[in-house]
Symmetry: C2
Subunit: 226 residues, 2 copies
DNA sequence: CGCACTCTTGAGGGAGCTCAACATTTGTGG
DNA sequence: CCACAAATGTTGAGCTCCCTCAAGAGTGCG
């Protein structure tokens, strides 16, 4: 909101550049050549698949420290800024000894896709929303207070629901005493165990093992998005 | 059927081995070390994610010529034989100049996952089943007559539906004259355009571009599964 | 203040799940 | 080879969950 828009700010090293995007701006589009990848410095990013029938599928949200845009040869998903966002852009590592790094990034992207599949496969609205909240809490390492910078529409297109169902489900959780809202964009978890019970054992376990997973899988501050 | 079960048949070269699995046998399980990958010589394979709540999500079917098991560090999905199956097993390429090959395999796996997400995101039963049939036809290069070696339960767990809905939907397609069945495992497409219209423009286009995609993406006989 | 956008909430209907029964196929043991 | 059991597939009836349609409330911005 300060006139900065996809401008180069400064070059940290000859090939890495810092970029700023304003809320809603497109970072790259489906079909663009995938000649670089990004790390989120601040803000939130979403990746989107647009389908011919008009339906939009969000495949991931990316927060501070996450990397995205590694997994695509030619971009088969678009990336957009959910909020005002600062990114570091790095050239793609197509060859050389570092391609194993890219390999791991691809594996993380696949993990992310599998998580998305998990959210979409035969689960009802309560399970999807509860799992989404817990995953967001995990990703942001904020078990008490979860910022939700994306719109209800974004959440709906991520979970395969309508905004109405998302809104109603969240309201239901508030009524049942699982969470509290401070405005639509900030969610406080009141009954963590209750939410876990709704989302299913798996998500609860995943959260318990958060620390272990980071070390075991080499996450160390870089995630694959949600 | 003939007493062969996961036996080594012969070694084509020092590290590649041929394996046979009987219908329903487990090829590898979630959590196994991913130290090799497989190519389907004959038969059909499914990859499955098992969730704590008992729900099973099939992420792909693999037919003659497909490779699978490349995409997992430690296996995060199980692989099982849908029918009696012959496989070639190769050691994983964890390093060396060939890791770019593995890279492409990972990208294909990601494509496959995205296709799965596409099938699961906000589509009704007709769209899912029609898309599934068209994708199977494409994968098997058999636009007229589609073998369906997997059970209705497998299809249901792939599409996020119940076996009842899958069965009813297929019966509906027969009644409407889109397909014919010769037993539950063999499906003949009668009205291709009609099926495409149900599945959505996207799938139809994908099928039209089948040849182009193979060459453009270097598919040449190796697929990522469906 | 008025417009645009997002979020929330209600009422009604329809798609798909659950429960249930039956048909068909496959496998097994006598 | 047949009888029986088990697995798989099909179909119907009822009900539930979520989508659609609709209206209203809250918020930011010009």
């Amino acid at each position: 909101m300060n006139g900065l828009s996809a401008e180069f700010q400064h070059a940290v090293n000859p090939q890495d550049t810092t970029l700023k995007f304003r809320k809603g701006e497109i970072i790259f589009s489906q079909g663009d050549p995938g000649d670089c990848w990004f790390e989120v410095v601040s803000g939130t990013v979403r990746t989107c698949h647009f389908h011919v029938d008009g339906h939009r599928q969000l495949t991931g949200f990316f927060y501070k420290g996450d990397v995205f845009g590694v997994e695509y040869g030619a971009r088969d998903a678009a990336a957009e800024a959910v909020t005002n966002t600062t990114l570091t852009r790095r050239p793609a590592l197509n060859d050389g000894p570092n391609s194993s790094w890219q390999n791991r990034a691809l594996e993380r992207a696949l993990d992310s896709a599998n998580q998305c599949i998990f959210l979409l496969g035969r689960r009802n609205a309560n399970e999807r929303v509860a799992a989404f909240l817990l995953i967001a809490a995990k990703r942001l390492s904020a078990l008490d207070s979860i910022p939700l910078p994306m719109t209800r529409s974004d959440i709906a297109d991520h979970l395969g629901l309508t905004i109405h169902t998302v809104s109603r489900t969240i309201s239901g959780f508030v009524r049942q005493g699982f969470i509290e809202l401070e405005g639509p964009q900030l969610c406080r978890i009141v009954d963590l165990e209750g939410l876990r019970a709704i989302a299913g054992e798996e998500i609860g376990v995943a959260i318990d093992n958060m620390g272990a997973m980071r070390s075991r899988r080499g996450y160390a501050g870089q995630g694959a998005g949600v």
